[in-house]
């Protein structure tokens, strides 16, 4: 222990040779081997070994499944798989994380009607002003309004998720796990009520003038 400490001390004493000092900056002399001093053969062989190992593994072993890609290194069970990380995108897709904010969808009531009550919370909170809602009278007696038009311009959307946070009736969600598709015309990037409802499912959240009845369920 003391011996090691002594060694370190003596090493500190020697230090690199200081050529010049200007303020906090020290110019020190370092020794780098020149080609005539070393043949590089050992280091070359070692480096070739490393690259050869990678090449052999990636050449002979099969690829990992797409679901195992994009997770930073091979999982333990993929022992006889290679290390290639490339995802061939249109054919292979990486599973997005659970909390990934994707394309919007509109949720449905038990009876299949749209859950949105056109309260205008989401267009109000939206920082990109990408939500357009035109309300109309609702058929149901307990619900006042519903959206006649509900459009989101996916080109303007900044995918912040504030609309989902603001929604009081679990009507809009971003949990589809897809992202906005590339389009050839700007008009086709606008999501309509119908397209967002087509991705929607029935929500079990209780809403709509039932008062505290949900507590008894």
């Amino acid at each position: 222990m003391s011996h090691a400490a002594h060694d370190e001390d003596s090493h500190d004493d020697e230090g690199p040779k200081v050529l010049a000092v200007s303020g906090k900056i020290r110019t020190i002399q370092v020794h780098r081997p020149e080609p005539q001093d070393t043949s590089f053969l050992a280091a070359t062989a070692k480096g070739l070994g490393i690259t050869l190992k990678h090449f052999a593994k990636n050449f002979f072993l099969p690829r990992r499944k797409a679901a195992e890609l994009g997770k930073g290194g091979a999982p333990a069970e993929a022992k006889w798989r290679n290390d290639i990380e490339t995802v061939q995108y249109p054919e292979e897709k990486v599973q997005y994380p659970e909390r990934f904010r994707g394309l919007h969808r509109l949720m449905l009531r038990e009876d299949g009607a749209v859950r949105c009550v056109a309260c205008m919370c989401c267009p109000t909170v939206c920082p990109a002003h990408c939500i357009t809602i035109v309300p109309e009278e609702s058929d149901s007696k307990s619900i006042e309004k519903r959206p006649a038009i509900f459009e989101i311009d996916e080109l303007r959307c900044v995918v912040c998720g504030l609309c989902v946070e603001a929604c009081p009736c679990d009507a809009i969600r971003m949990d589809t796990g897809e992202h906005a598709k590339p389009v050839y015309e700007r008009a086709t990037a606008i999501e309509t009520k119908e397209s967002m409802l087509s991705r929607g499912i029935k929500s079990i959240a209780v809403q709509g003038g039932e008062g505290p009845a949900w507590r008894q369920k």
Binding site: P35, L48, N58, I84
Partner: protein, 389 residues
């Protein structure tokens, strides 16, 4: 069928040097060099845990992306032939040709296969052919080497040095400081490493007593043993020479770790002003040089077209002989030459994608202070060895 179109005449035409050269270049060298452009990207990707180019296809034919070289060639051919102002037009146009042509010409000295007897393909040919063996028709032989001269390897050095004029003239004609620097570096590098290349082969000349690659392949270093024995190939007595030659040869191809003339991060190189197919010719010349260097090393050090233990009548192994007809033997030997060349190309790509590049001054130090003395010393050692034994 016209009367002159006989098998004899066709075989005579095939044995013509120019025709053999065309067959070798267009059936082996050019395809291999083209595929190397794809193989380099794919192999480097594999070494770096990537996938590499694998998508080029003609309809459903994908072949793991090999067709990328077709796409590259089409792109380069149809690109605008842009010549900047102030360049020396004649030299500018001449430079890519000068880079490409000598390498292709140098292939003439490479023995790519044994002598083929087309009328005896189905028969066995004994190891020691007795001329006029009555049961064999040995007429119309096709020699597996285009240009058989006693000064074979000297011819290679002389011709391949001309290839350097391509780079130098490109740098000179381009009217560009960076191109000129690249051209200068190219010629200085060539001069430094040519010396080592020549000297490292001196040991081979001393051991075999010949400058003719066909003779080296056909005899090996010890005349008492079969040239098909891998231990009789020149890698065994001349291993240091092989390493020295390989190092200098990689420098000759001007690729990393010796890509000073190109120097992408700093001067871009002597072809900075070139684009389209003119640049493509420089690129192709580089890859053909890889194939050529592999061919020379395979021929001189690794037995060329010899298959281990395969004589002209079949495999000889420990006194047991499995006889094979001449056609099969020839096919195996041509395949062995191809396999050795492809393997060495693969090794060069592995080296190119493993080692970082040298600085210009380090390059000169390595060449003049390490490789040159070592090759001189090895020549002396070999000379003493041949004198004593």
């Amino acid at each position: 069928m016209p009367s002159w179109l006989t098998l004899h005449n066709v075989l005579r035409v095939i044995d013509n040097g120019a025709v053999k050269w065309l067959i070798l270049v267009f059936a082996f060298v050019m395809p291999l060099a083209s595929i190397l452009t794809w193989m380099e990207r794919r192999q480097s990707a594999m070494m770096q845990d990537r996938l590499g180019p694998n998508r080029a296809n003609i309809g459903p034919i994908k072949l793991k992306g090999i067709l990328h070289f077709v796409a590259d060639a089409l792109k380069m051919i149809f690109k605008e032939d842009f010549i900047p102002g102030n360049v020396h037009r004649g030299l500018f146009a001449l430079a890519p040709v000068l880079a490409l042509a000598p390498v292709l010409i140098a292939f003439a000295i490479i023995p790519f296969g044994p002598t083929i007897y087309p009328h005896a393909l189905g028969q066995q040919i004994p190891s020691n052919i007795v001329e006029g063996a009555s049961w064999l028709n040995l007429s119309d032989p096709i020699r597996g080497q285009i240009f058989q001269v006693d000064f074979g390897l000297i011819f290679y050095f002389a011709v391949l040095t001309l290839a350097n004029y391509g780079g130098t003239l490109a740098g000179w004609a381009s009217y560009n400081k960076w191109a000129l620097l690249g051209g200068l570096r190219s010629s200085s590098q060539m001069m430094s490493y040519e010396v080592t290349m020549g000297l490292s082969l001196m040991g081979v000349f001393l051991v075999t007593g010949s400058l003719e690659p066909g003779y080296i392949t056909a005899t090996g270093w010890n005349h008492n043993y079969s040239p098909a024995n891998p231990l009789n190939w020149l890698w065994l007595p001349q291993l240091p020479a092989m390493i020295l030659f390989f190092t200098a040869a990689i420098a000759e191809t001007k690729r990393a770790p010796f890509d000073i003339p190109e120097g992408e991060p700093e001067i871009i190189g002597y072809f900075v002003e070139y684009s389209g197919i003119r640049w493509g010719m420089f690129f192709l010349a580089e890859f053909i040089e890889i194939v050529f260097i592999s061919s020379v090393i395979a021929t001189v050090f690794l037995g060329g077209w010899q298959v281990p233990f395969l004589e002209s009548d079949g495999f000889h192994f420990g006194g047991v002989v499995s006889f094979l007809p001449h056609g099969v033997v020839v096919a195996l030997q041509l395949g062995a030459f191809g396999a050795k060349v492809v393997g060495l190309c693969w090794l060069q790509l592995l080296i190119r994608w493993t080692l970082p590049r040298f600085r210009a001054d380090q390059l000169m130090s390595l060449g003049w202070k390490l490789l040159l003395p070592m090759s001189l010393a090895w020549t002396l050692v070999t000379a003493l060895g041949t004198l004593l034994f």
